[in-house]
Symmetry: C6
Subunit: 78 residues, 6 copies
Amino acid sequence: MNATLVPNNSLVTATPEEGRQLAIKMARLVIKATQPDEAVRGRLREVYANDAAALIQIGHVVALEFATIAAANGYWRS
Amino acid sequence: MNATLVPNNSLVTATPEEGRQLAIKMARLVIKATQPDEAVRGRLREVYANDAAALIQIGHVVALEFATIAAANGYWRS
Amino acid sequence: MNATLVPNNSLVTATPEEGRQLAIKMARLVIKATQPDEAVRGRLREVYANDAAALIQIGHVVALEFATIAAANGYWRS
Amino acid sequence: MNATLVPNNSLVTATPEEGRQLAIKMARLVIKATQPDEAVRGRLREVYANDAAALIQIGHVVALEFATIAAANGYWRS
Amino acid sequence: MNATLVPNNSLVTATPEEGRQLAIKMARLVIKATQPDEAVRGRLREVYANDAAALIQIGHVVALEFATIAAANGYWRS
Amino acid sequence: MNATLVPNNSLVTATPEEGRQLAIKMARLVIKATQPDEAVRGRLREVYANDAAALIQIGHVVALEFATIAAANGYWRS
């Protein structure tokens, strides 16, 4: 299976909302590439979705991915 | 329910104060998207609101979201 | 009570020292917004002020807030 | 053995997907330089691939490497 | 006592080495402002100076302070 | 002994590979400045070189140092 790390192979999105969705997807795809076993990821999802510290760290990673995507899109200013 | 990740689908705000409010909201909406169950989030809120390390990490994420929003707004300089 | 997240609603400061003070205040105000109960914050302060890891993490958040403030002020170069 | 830290000694890639692959490789090569023993790294891989917090932290590092690579490539805009 | 957060109230340094020294000092001065009791800081120093994770985190904060100082100095390029 | 925090007192390197080596060295030199006792550092090395979380955090710090070095070198583009 050819895992794609960047959907559509582009950082350009039409809106900030779509940029945010891309940030979430890109963060997930790195984890998928590191742990390809879906059953294991499912078990770990149960862990982090119920752990405050882990959820905050996920928010941290998404914020960082989004910073790059936002810069790539000129912050959707005009 | 159509969860919105970026309120008003824009990073532009009138003032730094509003930019900061947006940063807090965007950080929360990622957590909501990751853990949609409101009852679970309520329990976790009790945890992180009473844990020094977790509160500092929340501050970290907000600071990172704000960095992007501030850049998007040209730091509200003029 | 109308919590202010950015004192004076501006990232502009006269000097780096004042920028650093603003970074510390902004970091604290996010924690205050997340945990508004002053008694709880007082207890947590006892924890983090005596914990090496927590103090380092506070330094991390302040450094990140300061990066944004410094950029907003053109690094106080001239 | 002459460990290479940056494959092809360049941050330039043709696409975001390849930039992301480079980010993952560069993150791994630092760990390899710090812990050159392949057997130890194999054992640790078992640990982090089954630990939610560790996987999220790996995602964090990749996001940071990618931010640099994306800037180096002008975000593959044109 | 009037704690100074930025020595000389300036981010400008003559060289990268001095910029790095400033980064270390600025990181320490935030911790001093948060925990002003010298005896407590002395005890905590014993902790973090002998803890691998804490030392790495200190390195992290210094790297972030340095990023800002380096940008302020145009990376000492010319 | 006059510990040097930035080898050659410059962020300029000929190639990304050398920039990456500089990032690793600069990260190590901060730890050396914080814990000058070589015997202690040797013991801690045993700890972090066999701990997945610590190795990932080292990768994180190196990525951040490298971001600054890469910017200082205009990403070695031309």
